[in-house]
């Protein structure tokens, strides 16, 4: 597999650096009109009146669509009828109810963007507003069990409760006990490219949509269901996506609304959300409160863990953050109770955001373990080694592969962990306090069924296609490598195409499953094409001992092309093994003891995630994940006004993500791992593991620097004054 692994430059790189890569809103479509959404300004109540006259009369306006004149659509999914984890209840102008602030309540279409945008401001709305409840930590609304099907991480439906052993008894008997509450505010994905959709109707029954989506097939299914069309009448195309991180893994209201608008005006319609419109109607990480109780012996051996908590959800839809998933898998512990609850608030529906459950859960668990280590005066790394899970603690199954010990060792060595002085405030750099912290990273190895088609041409080139997406993860590049490897071609001779529902079906790009799932399909499709070629036989008299180039073989048979399709299946070995990627995060912070400013000055992460398809793009994903962890620890916070239920820091000036100066040199280390069981190509996926554990590592480092334990993210300077 010599094409797999090397740090090949992104094949789409030249297009991305020249402005040639065309994102959804940039596809040139003749006669396209511009649509702008009008969003609600209350969080709960009814629309009692809408004055659209001014907007309708404004120059260039083609239509103003509200619940009064919108096309009548089939009903939205219910608890019983939802098709998948991304099957949200959408707000498509079917009634006068307002369920959250910034809910779409009208759509304005005009001949230019400026005219549509201004006319949207001219729509006057009257409401009957009800009091709102948007704050998880202050609500009096009781937590409840999530409704099935639990709306969880990709690839599996996870249990919201689990029990093993006798936690109460073990805690009562434990020599030491840690019990703390950890909170995480809502976080907003904010990919650099806002959600964008162009809808083009071909007659009344066929629709093509250019959409910025992590899942063209989910998009197609949801559009068809929302609009009452047969699925095959809808085609979704998404060649370049300017980041997603989960918000583009589900279909939100604006997508069908763009199609409705296009139908209304009889022209293609382009709809791009403004940055403020990205705060609310397109998902967020929920607000989360977690309580972790750990009982352990004086030697640090875990006796029991209770991990329970609640996350916010909307009043009308499903989502449960599975923050206890990593706790069930990470350490050997005979007694374990986990419980996940949700609280319905007057907010828009939250959704997956990079490493859902795993990142939020590891923040709580890995912080609590650090607290235990402090209590026992045991080195935090040593504590984790003493509780190393040689098999999956939940099922007892062997791991398909696990190289966490090597990750700890590699990262600790690079970081210089052995030089740590254990006491808080014991390390300084001039006037600044220096703190070191570490945590474990983990993410499940997900695979979902995927298909691909490979075509070999007489000119010696190959075209491989699968409907999948490249959300910046490098799909174009790694699939080209996988195909080139299977076909024995240089990567320059292979073209991989994606992002189109006319191509073979693949999963949504979420749960770090694309490389493994689509990669396996591409690999098999390419092998299939070679086999087909081989089956043609050696009629031309060439020497069969020579590995004849397929171009020559095709020519010999007078064929222009040969094509093979593969439909991937789940591997049966998946039931015999537990499958996860693991890693170790080490962080150094510098804290100004007077001003409370925290800066991460160094970070080292070591990861074992099966085969790495491309060392360059994989490193970028892990690096990005680690920086997301820093961002989660220090910056990100979606703030609701308690009375308006409206997100107030709704732009990139007030919703903070790191800038270049915030980010230090970061070491990403790969621990080689050969996993023959996880899937055909031995890949576990690296899109999400990089963020897991990172927020805890930062918080643990801040504790080491200052002696202050911050359990409420983000760690802003006011909490350290």
């Amino acid at each position: 597999m010599k094409k797999i692994g090397p740090p090949v430059d992104r094949v789409d790189g030249p297009l991305k650096v020249t402005g040639g890569a065309r994102y959804a809103a940039e596809v040139p479509v003749a006669r396209v009109a511009h649509a702008v959404l009008v969003l609600s300004t209350i969080a709960r109540g009814r629309i009692t009146g809408m004055d659209t006259g001014k907007a309708e009369r404004a120059p260039g306006v083609l239509a103003v669509i509200t619940h009064k004149n919108a096309m009548h659509l089939p009903p939205q999914p219910t608890r019983e009828t939802r098709a998948s984890q991304g099957d949200h209840v959408l707000q498509l102008l079917q009634d006068d109810h307002v369920l959250y602030n910034r809910q779409p309540i009208a759509i304005v279409v005009a001949d230019t963007f400026e005219r549509a945008q201004h006319a949207a401001h001219l729509v006057a709305v009257r409401y009957e507003a009800a009091p709102v409840d948007v704050d998880l930590l202050r609500t009096r609304t009781a937590a409840r069990a999530p409704h099935p099907p639990y709306h969880g991480t990709v690839a599996q439906t996870l249990p919201v409760e689990s029990r093993r052993g006798d936690v109460a008894a073990a805690l009562a008997a434990a020599a030491v006990r840690v019990e703390e509450v950890y909170t995480i505010p809502a976080e907003t994905h904010n990919p650099m490219e806002p959600h964008a959709t162009i809808a083009v109707w071909h007659g009344p029954t066929h629709l093509t949509v250019y959409d910025s989506t992590q899942g063209v097939f989910e998009d197609q299914r949801k559009l068809a269901a929302s609009l009452g069309l047969p699925r095959e009448n809808v085609r979704v195309i998404s060649h370049y996506i300017g980041g997603g991180f989960g918000t583009k893994g589900a279909v939100w209201s604006h997508v069908p609304l763009a199609a409705m608008a296009a139908q209304k005006v009889g022209r293609p319609v382009k709809l791009v959300l403004s940055r403020p419109q990205m705060f609310g109607p397109v998902g967020a990480r929920p607000q989360i409160e977690q309580r972790v109780v750990i009982g352990a012996g004086r030697d640090g051996v875990l006796a029991a863990i209770r991990h329970e908590g609640r996350s916010s959800v909307s009043q009308f839809d499903q989502f449960c953050e599975h923050f206890t998933a990593p706790t069930r898998a990470l350490y050997k512990c005979p007694n374990l109770d986990t419980t996940e609850r949700v609280v319905s608030l007057d907010i828009a529906t939250p959704c997956q955001m990079r490493a859902p459950g795993e990142v939020t859960g590891t923040f709580a668990l890995e912080s609590a373990l650090d607290e235990l280590a402090v209590k026992l005066a045991i080195d935090p790394l040593e504590l984790r080694l003493r509780n190393y899970a040689e098999t999956d603690p939940e099922t007892g199954r062997p791991w398909s592969s696990k190289s966490l010990r090597q990750c700890y060792q590699t990262a600790a060595e690079k970081f210089g962990w052995s030089r740590k002085k254990p006491q808080p405030r014991s390390m300084v750099d001039g006037k600044l306090l220096v703190g070191w912290g570490m945590a474990t990273a983990t993410y499940p190895a997900n695979v979902r069924p995927a298909s691909a088609i490979a075509t070999l041409f007489a000119d010696g080139t190959a075209l491989v296609r699968a409907g999948t997406q490249d959300i910046g993860t490098g799909t174009y590049t790694v699939m080209t490598q996988v195909a080139a490897d299977a076909l024995g071609l240089p990567v320059e001779k292979v073209r991989f195409e994606l992002g189109d529902t006319d191509m073979p079906e693949t999963p949504t790009s979420g749960g770090s499953c694309t490389a493994a799932s689509v990669g396996s399909a591409v690999h098999q499709a390419c092998l299939g094409a070679r086999e087909k070629l081989a089956r043609l036989g050696n009629g031309g008299g060439a020497d069969p001992s020579v590995d004849e180039p397929f171009a020559a073989q095709l020519a010999r048979h007078g064929m222009k092309r040969i094509e093979a399709r593969y439909d991937a299946k789940q591997l049966e070995t998946r039931d015999r093994y537990a499958m996860r990627a693991f890693g170790a995060q080490f962080v150094e912070v510098r804290v100004d003891p007077e001003l409370g400013e925290v800066r991460v000055s160094r970070a080292v992460g070591a990861f074992a995630a099966g085969r790495i398809l491309n060392a360059k793009t994989a490193r970028s994903q892990l690096l990005g994940g680690m920086i997301w962890g820093i961002s989660m620890a220090l910056h990100e916070n979606t703030v609701y006004d308690p009375k308006l239920g409206r997100i107030m820091n709704n732009d990139l000036s007030e919703y903070l993500v790191p800038v270049n100066l915030d980010i230090p040199a970061i070491d990403v280390l790969f621990v080689p791992e050969d996993d023959p069981y996880v899937n055909e190509i031995g890949v576990k996926g690296v899109g999400e593991i990089g963020i897991t554990g990172m927020a805890a590592a930062v918080a643990n480092a801040v504790y080491h620097a200052t002696g202050r334990r911050i359990r409420d993210l983000p760690i802003t300077l006011d909490k350290l004054l």
Partner: protein, 327 residues
Amino acid sequence: MREIRYLSVAAEGPAIRALQADTDATYLAGGTSLLDLMKLEVLNFAQLVDVNAIPLTKIEVSNDGARIGSMVRNSDLALHPEIAARYPLLSEALLSGASPQIRNMATVGGNLLQRTRCYYYRDPSTACNKRNPGSGCAAIDGYNRNHAILGTSDHCIATHASDMCVALAALDAVVHTQGPGGERHIPFAEFHRLPGDHPEIESVLQHGELITAVSLPPPTGLRQSRYLKIRDRASYAFALSAVAAALRIEGNLIRGARIALGGVGTKPWRAVEAEQALVGKPANRATFTLAAAETVRGARTRPHNAFKVELTRRAVVRALSTIRGAS
């Protein structure tokens, strides 16, 4: 943004006449505040009079002080060698603001009129006395982390967002204008208004009055200075608290002091009492601590911004100590 009429002018006269003829017009310079807020429909002028072609772009520095044309871009001012040498406080403040791209666009005149970053002011669906007089203030009982603790009223707690203005306040700048009534020379302390009952009126400028220049007195004894900006990320963020400080230390005694604050006041905040508390005292931490306490005397806080009192005290001590350490 509403439909606008656009007029480009190349001299002060036509600019002023254009505004005199249209009460719904305003000047367009760098555009970084104005167009931002017009897109949000927070501001809704019918006519924009583009003054970028007016050659008010000179920077003159002499022993009598400095005179800076109002159309000088922030980056050009910050990097002007003589400004950087004689008024490092101003350079430092400018370079701590916004981003290189914005600094290449924003002008001195425009920055004097920079608008608040209050979340509610920027959201026309909410109550805001500054944007919509008489509608109330959603920030007072809302989310008020970036809001002011000094100079607030019951009608407005919005923070003045400029960094440049904090330095200008410390440097005793004078704002020069030309308007229908002739020229005016406005001391910096009088240029911005406290919100009081009329937070919608932010400065003493009259309609049609054009800022032509800002002048600075000679920087006598103020070259030991520091602009300390504290923010949630390392760059490209507005101040939670900012301190512009300058000290003249002779022997161990403070002979002159300037302190102005950003991120905490409803206008660029000159801390005169704190300066008085410094002069004649030994330049040590005890003195600085006393002066720091003076800067926030009378602060009125809200739940999310209460930390700014202690933060500002510490920032003032830090800024003064840094100057002391360097001198």
